[in-house]
Each structure stands twice: as C-alpha cells, then as structure tokens.
Amino acid sequence: MSVLAQFAVNGIVTGSVYALIALGFALIFTASRVFHFAHGGVYTLSAFAGYTVLVTLELGIVAAFLAAIVTAALIGVLINMLLYEPMKAGGVSPFVALISSFGVLIIITHMTAMVWGSNPVVLSRGGKTTVYRFGAIYTTDAQMLIIGFTVILAVALWIFFRHMRLGIAIRAMGNDSELAEVVGMPAKRLRNISFIVGSGLVGISAMLIGLNVGIIDFNMGNEIILMATVAMIIGGLGNVGAAAGGGFVLGMIQNIAIWKIESKWQMALSFAILIIVLLFKPNGLFGEKRPATGL
C-alpha cells in the first residue's frame, strides 16, 4: 500500500512538472491559437541561461532565476513578433505557424548544443537537499517547491482568465481575433503580453525542474513539450486550468502505471491516452463544450 502511495506522490510531482509547462503552453494557445512547440526550445534555452548565471558566473540563485525568466520572456515574445504575428497579418492559419514552430524548436535545440555542448551538465545550487518524510512516503524540498508553485500558478491563472478584464479579453481574442479588434482591443499587444507571461513562466519551470533533476541537456525541451501537448489536449483546449488538470492526470497515470507496466513504455502509454482522448472526448476531460476538432 505504501508503495502505491509513494507512486502517487511521485505522480503528483511529475504531474506538476507537466502542468507547469502546459500552463504557459495553454496560455499562449488561448491567446494566439498556435500550438507553440518552440516553447520546448524556450524552456531549454532558459535553463541554460540560468545554468550560466548560477554555475559558470556564480551570481547566486536569485540572479539565475531572473536570467532564466528574462531570457525565456524575450525569446518567446521575439518568436511571436518576428514569426507568428507577420504570418497572422498575412492571413496564414495558425496551423502553418505550428509547422514553423517545429523549425524554431530545432534551431534553438541545436544552437544550445553548439554553445553549451551536447553532454548533460549539472545544475545545482550547492548545499544539501532536505528530504521530508510522511510515514513511509518521501519527498524533497525541490519537489515540494514544484508542487506548491504549480498549484498557486494554476489557481492564479484560473482567476485571471475567469474574473479579470485582461484575462477575459485574452480569451475573447483567442476565440475571434478580428472581432476583438473591431471592438477596440489591442489584439497584438494582448498576444505579446501572453507570450511574455507564458514564456516567463516556462523560465521559472525550467529552473525548478532543472534543480530537481540536477542535470540539464540540450534535448530536455523536446520530450517535455510533447508531454505538455498531451496534457493540454487530455485536459481540454483553450483553458489553462484544464491544461494543468491534464498535466496532473498524465503524471499520475504514468507513475501509477509503473506499478504494472515497465517505465520504458511511458511515452507510448501517454500518446495512447492522447489518441483515445482525441477520438472519444475531443473536448478533453475538463474542457468546455466546444468542438475541439474544428477550431
């Protein structure tokens, strides 16, 4: 029984990790309708920016987080301004932007490898890891931090999108950009804000996750962006709370499945769940009623 409880706790930690990435990914999707796969590249790059400040320059943990956030926000908003916005202005559908974003992901990933090398590097803030023990269940301070941060962020974003003018405006714009502009919303600026916030969040996530795992490499963003995609779709599109929920569900399923299925099948299992959800519950587990397949 305690083994299962430990798996469940691990599931919550993994789920938080997916949820963290999915939150920014979903925020950007809500505003721009683009599946911004380059988000995975922004995640990788910001982790290495933080690593350079923390380990190479030894400027401390606060400066490292700031560097990661600023790098991520800057790269994210630049991708939007230089690529997605001109495409949108030219009447190109977000679907083409999706394909383009694969290209950006490849560029960032391999440029990171060129600059920092293709071997993993150790990301550590020094000092000891505190391990907490609840009965037979173990967890670390870094893990508690991830879970806490995810929950606070998910709730904050949910309130932002439900009850605050700016959040509601972003959702409205995601639904119909033209109409939003007609009624006088600064659509372009709202999208830029979404990219800054969504990417800034992934900067924080990259540091939290990097410190928890202890090593980072140039490929780290590729798998996690796939998992964020799965999380966002099984949760429900166009809703950040649902995306976070999807992340938790995915993390729990993966870790509880370890009980019966070898961990090497995690990736296949996750995508099998994705396909089943796409086919039988296209609005996601927590999504609103809207035909997700015909956006």
Binding site: M267, A268, F271, L278
Partner: protein
C-alpha cells in the same frame, strides 16, 4: 567513388519518401508526421525477414509493403476522423508509439537496432556492390515518381485536390472524403515502406534513430522546401538538402559541431519557407499551407 554512390542512394531514398509524403501534404492537404514510422516499419520488416527467412529483394518489397499498409491503416483509420492540427497531433502520437516499439521490443533489437543483415538477392543474383544498390534505389524512386505522376494526373488526382480545397463540396457530390483520404494514405505507405527496404539493404544494418519524430519533421521540411504539390520539387529538395551538409566537409566547420549546424540549417529552412515562400522552391500552389 563509394562516397558519391552512397550519397546518391541516400538522395534516391529521400526523394521516394518526400514524394510519398507530398501526395498527402501537397495534394490532399493531410499533414502527417508519421511518415518516418511507416518508413521504419518497412525497414524492420525487411531486416527481420532477411535475418530469419529470405533476403530476396522482391519478396522483401512485397512484405514491407504489406506490413506498411497494415500499420498505415492502424494509423489512418482513427486519425482521419480528425482535421488539421488534430490530425497532425494524432499522427505524431502514432509516430511516438511506433518509435517506442522499435526502441523497446526484443525482436527489434532495442536501441542498438539490427545488424549483420545479408545483401539482397534478385533473381538469384546477389546485389553486393554499391552501384548496384544505387540502381535499385533509383529504380524505386523512378517507379514512385511515375506512379505519383500518374495518380495525380488521373481523375483521382483531381479528387485529391478537391478534397484539399473543399471537403464539403466533395461530399456534396456524393464522394466519400474519408475513403479518398484513406486510399492515398495507404498508397503513400507502400512507397514509404519500400524506401525502408532500400535503407536496410544499402546499409545492411538498421538504427532506430533513423525513424524518430525528427526524421518525420525532416521529410515534411523536404516537402515544403521543394514545394507542396510539386513532384519535381520533392526530388530537387531531397537532392539539395542531402548535398548541402556534405559541403560542410569542404568548409571550415569543425567536425564536432557539423551535425548541429546541419540541424540548425534544416530548422532555418523550415522556418524560412513557411514564413516567406510557402509554395516552396518550384511549387505552384501557395494555398496548400494557408
């Protein structure tokens, strides 16, 4: 000389793959990123067949195609119920699942792949020399090109383009959009898996990394760079993008980062063409990617 023969074989394989995917992307508007998985299914079928039963080239082609078609049906039947982004993401899911099977099953040799595969035989003659394999690869590319040309110029080709432009109109004329899509998906899979056969016999080994999601995105890049809906464009793109990184050897690019430079170049081309030249190098239809 061996080196040029090898590059030539590679170009022929990628030309076949690109044309097969262009039938989906360019002509029918189905952006699938599972092509590398189907290519891999053909390759594994061929390798396992050659290691355990027979290395007869024609039997290999037939078996690879049959298994490739079977797997393509498993991918297509559910995925084709979805449109646009969701179709792409579903095929990406199948790509990931099939790659995971390649990497983790015992029979597929796991991460180290399969090696020591015998040379193929054709009518009792063993095809051992590089140039003979190049001829086989070229023959497949030519057959693929000719059948794609035939199919796209036939009434069925018009039907494909009609599906791409306006599915409702096609349905209103009493044609089944789903059946048209399924037919072209399966047809495309025949050539993708045959390309896998050529890959295995030209290397006499098989590495699962060659069938990763990145490879599917690379094939999409080739289709877009060449021009969606342009068969000649597909051949041109395959030749250019395979040759281009080879010129690095003559430039002052350190060997250690050459693979990274190549990837960055491919990524940059994908971004450039989707942003500035959606009709590709010699494509006509700008509207496929709209």
């Amino acid at each position: 000389m061996e080196y040029f023969i090898y590059i030539g074989t590679l170009i022929a394989i990628y030309a076949t793959l690109t044309i097969s995917l262009n039938l989906l992307v360019g002509y029918t508007g189905l952006i699938s990123i599972a092509q590398a998985a189907i290519y891999g299914v053909g390759a594994y079928t061929t390798a396992l067949l050659a290691l355990n039963f027979t290395n007869d080239l024609l039997i290999s082609f037939v078996c690879a195609a049959v298994v490739g078609v079977f797997v393509s049906l498993i991918i297509a039947l559910p995925s084709l119920r979805l449109t646009n982004e969701y179709f792409l993401i579903a095929t990406m899911g199948f790509q990931a699942i099939i790659f995971s099977l390649f990497m983790n099953l015992e029979i597929t040799g796991g991460a180290s792949g399969l090696y020591g595969i015998p040379h193929p035989t054709l009518f009792g003659h063993t095809i051992r020399a590089g140039w003979e394999k190049l001829l086989v690869a070229l023959a497949l590319a030519v057959i693929c090109y000719a059948s794609a040309l035939r199919i796209t110029n036939a009434p069925f080709g018009r039907l494909l383009r009609a599906v791409r432009e306006d599915q409702t109109a096609v349905a209103s004329l009493g044609k089944s959009v789903f059946r048209v899509k399924l037919a072209i998906f399966v047809f495309s899979a025949v050539f993708a898996s045959a390309a896998g056969t050529i890959y295995v016999y030209s290397l006499t080994a098989l590495d699962p990394v060659a069938f990763h999601l990145d490879e599917s995105i690379f094939i999409i890049t080739l289709v877009i760079v060449g021009g969606t809906g342009s068969l000649n464009g597909s051949i041109l793109a395959a030749a250019l993008l395979i040759l281009l990184p080879e010129t690095f050897k003559f430039m002052a690019i350190p060997e250690a980062i050459a693979p990274e430079v190549r990837q960055v170049l491919y990524g940059a081309l994908l971004v450039f063409f989707t942003r500035f030249r959606r009709q590709g190098l010699i494509g006509e239809y700008r509207d496929v990617l709209k």
